[in-house]
């Protein structure tokens, strides 16, 4: 029973990480319909931005995190303007943009390795606090991951519901063509989606940097889990992205109570397969 409780706690922590990744990816995917696989290396680049500010430049950690978020936001904007937008302007089919995204993924991932080296980057940070709650053990870095989801999730929900710009994002998520017809500046909204989505991804990237260190290749697992969480939750639904991420984390962790852990990395595929089979629109996907 103690083990189950611990695995549920771990699942919530990991799920919060996936949910944050899915929020950013889902915002971009839902708004622009671009399968932005380069989201992975941009996530990694954000961690490197944070590391660069904290380690070589010696900035305090809070400032380094801001630098990491700024790195992600700028990289996201550039990815859209330099790589995807020209294809959109040409009216290229989604497959072409998808291939461009994969190309950008490879270029960015290798560029990070070439520029910063292939070793793991760590930042000077105080040791993680350990909290013992009965049979449960959690660390301050794990709590930070859950807190980040709560704060950013609530903030994004308020933003898209209460602001005019947020409503434009929702309109584009719902129907991009109709949004254009009614006069929404879709270029501006798409750019904003890339900036905000990439900035959101930068937060879990910085937290992982502090917790476990960063590598040039950390983006693959991140974009993969974000993609699965968005599909499981329902494309176009930010609430679904969060639910999908949390569900993935919980299933991946609690499923290991009886199943040998060597199967853990397969669980995301199984969940994806089952959702595509029985609920192709995802848990919260509705109208499309």
């Amino acid at each position: 029973m103690d083990l189950v409780a611990q695995l549920v706690a771990n699942g919530l922590v990991n799920g919060s990480h996936y949910a944050l990744l899915a929020l950013g990816f889902g915002l971009i995917f839902g708004t622009t319909r671009i399968t932005h696989f380069a989201y992975g290396p941009i996530y990694a680049l954000s961690a490197y931005g944070c590391w660069f500010a904290a380690a070589p430049l010696g900035a305090p950690l809070w400032l380094a995190v801001i630098a990491g978020i700024a790195t992600g936001a700028v990289a996201g904007a550039l990815a859209y303007l330099v790589v995807y937008r020209p294809f959109e302007r040409e009216g290229s089919p989604p497959l072409v943009i998808l291939i461009a995204s994969l190309g950008l993924f490879i270029v960015l991932e290798n560029a990070i390795g070439v520029v910063f080296g292939t070793d793991t980057k760590v930042v000077p940070a105080p040791p993680a606090g350990v909290f013992l709650w009965g049979p449960l053990v959690v660390t301050s870095s794990q709590l930070a991951q859950v807190a980040a989801l709560v704060i950013l999730g609530a903030g994004l929900a308020l933003y898209v519901r209460r602001t005019r710009f947020g409503k434009a994002v929702l309109a584009m998520t719902d129907n991009p063509e109709m949004a254009r017809v009614i006069g929404i500046d879709t270029l501006r909204v798409s750019l904003a989606a890339f900036v905000i989505g990439s900035a959101i991804a930068a937060v879990p990237a910085c937290l992982i940097l502090v917790k476990d260190g960063a590598t040039a290749h950390m983006g693959f697992a991140a974009v993969f889990m974000a993609f699965v969480a968005v599909v499981v939750g329902g494309v176009g639904s930010l609430r679904g992205a969060v639910a999908g991420g949390l569900a993935l984390g919980l299933v991946e962790s609690t499923g290991m109570v009886k199943i040998p852990t060597e199967w853990q990395s397969s669980i995301a595929f199984v969940v994806l397969f089952l959702v595509l089979l029985f609920r192709p629109r995802g848990l919260f996907g509705g109208r499309q």
């Binding site: 390795g113 070793d119 760590v122 013992l132 053990v137 476990d212 260190g213 962790s253 852990t261």
Partner: protein, 384 residues
């Protein structure tokens, strides 16, 4: 008279054949091309970086002294993308068809297994300084290993845990051939020693999160934990085990500088059994290598860099020996024969490494303990 004619004729033919062979001049290439198939990209590219640096340094040093037999060495480095067998085969094919190499430095278990049939087919000498799975022994007629096998290191680690009085062992291992080979060797050995394995948890190579596995190990309440895995997961595992409040002895079979960086202060007390590479004044070659490496790459050499560095020197020695026999000597068969004429080679670790009939070199192996930012040498360990 007739009784002697057949033996005499045979003897005459042998003498003549021998004479002809001995008189054959060596067929020298313009350069000795040494291929290397390493993890130059991907999750484990740290290995490819340090291994290739060791190779380049050795090649530069040897060429600066006029090459081998007056012929320069040339390193051709290919990428198996951190253990991808298919990429390794493609790389091997490029080395064979484009570069016409007859000597390849290989790394990682799966890629080495994948290229072994090509090595046999084309008579290519393989020198493995990184792959650690037992399944690599004899995988090719022409393969030699100057890296201790993981299973041997694991057995030595288990023996040390038993000497500490541990009975209940939990294992966290890589789910691949390298990790599985240690599990296969240590599990029956530990049981035979009278202990029990209370948890065997697996993580994929490249795992960034192993909290679930560590939670299961914690629930099993072991006396000690064995880490049958490699960089960077070792560092991450040590860190998370300690962060989650476990105080048991943790022992492993590797601890690179990268692992140490990840684990930070939480690596304190971690034990590991590994090839013993420690540059010191009483081993001048080790010191020269370390100084040259630091000058070139602004970092201290890893033992993997040392393995590939000394691997190139060993190949140079083989080329000298094989050339003395004349003929077409740059091939797996001639170089293998040259190796077994005297299986002892100077090791940059100090002393000599001696190749056994199974192709694995016996080298100095030690038990280390992490203390502060140092890996404190505890004692030499016998590998049988």
């Amino acid at each position: 008279m007739r009784k002697f004619s057949l033996p005499v004729a045979a003897f005459t033919v042998l003498v003549l054949a021998g004479g002809v062979a001995a008189q054959q001049p060596p067929k020298d290439p313009k350069t000795y091309k040494i291929g290397a198939i390493l993890a130059m990209s991907g999750q484990a590219s740290f290995y490819g970086t340090v291994m290739s640096q060791g190779i380049k340094q050795a090649v530069e040093e040897i060429n600066a002294k006029g090459g081998v037999n007056g012929i320069p060495l040339e390193a051709v480095i290919e990428d198996h993308k951190s253990g991808n067998a298919q990429e390794a085969v493609s790389a091997m094919n490029r080395l064979i068809t484009i570069n016409d190499v007859k000597i390849v430095l290989t790394s990682f278990s799966a890629p080495t297994q994948a290229i072994a049939p090509l090595a046999d087919q084309h008579g290519i000498l393989l020198v493995n300084g990184g792959g650690v799975s037992n399944s690599l022994v004899g995988v090719s007629k022409y393969i030699f290993h100057n890296r201790s096998l993981a299973a041997d290191l694991g057995l030595a680690a288990a023996a040390h845990l038993q000497s500490l009085g541990a009975k209940k062992l939990a294992v966290l291992h890589w789910k691949n051939d390298a990790g599985d080979s240690v599990v296969r060797a240590v599990t029956p050995y530990w049981t035979k020693l009278g202990g029990t394995i209370v948890a065997t948890e697996a993580v994929p190579q490249g795992a960034t999160n192993m909290d679930t596995q560590i939670a299961k190990i914690r629930a099993a309440n072991p006396d000690a934990i064995g880490l049958w895995m490699f960089n960077p997961e070792t560092g991450l595992a040590v860190k998370r085990i300690r962060e989650l409040g476990m105080k048991q002895p943790v022992i492993g079979i590797e601890y690179t500088a990268n692992d140490a960086k990840i684990a930070g202060a939480l690596g304190e007390g971690y034990l590991f059994i590994n090839d013993y590479f420690e540059p010191s004044a009483d081993q001048p070659w080790s010191q020269r290598f370390a100084e040259g490496y630091e000058k070139r790459y602004k970092t201290k050499p890893d033992f993997y860099a040392a393995n590939y560095y000394e691997g190139v020197y060993m190949i140079a020695e083989l080329l000298k020996r094989a050339r003395a026999k004349g003929g077409d000597y740059v091939n797996g068969e001639s170089l293998k024969a040259a190796l077994y004429t005297n299986p002892k080679f100077d090791s940059v670790y100090g002393g000599q490494m001696v190749f056994q009939p199974n192709g694995v070199a016996l080298k100095r192996v030690g038990l280390f303990k992490v203390e502060g930012d140092k890996n404190k040498f505890e004692k030499f360990v016998e590998i049988k």
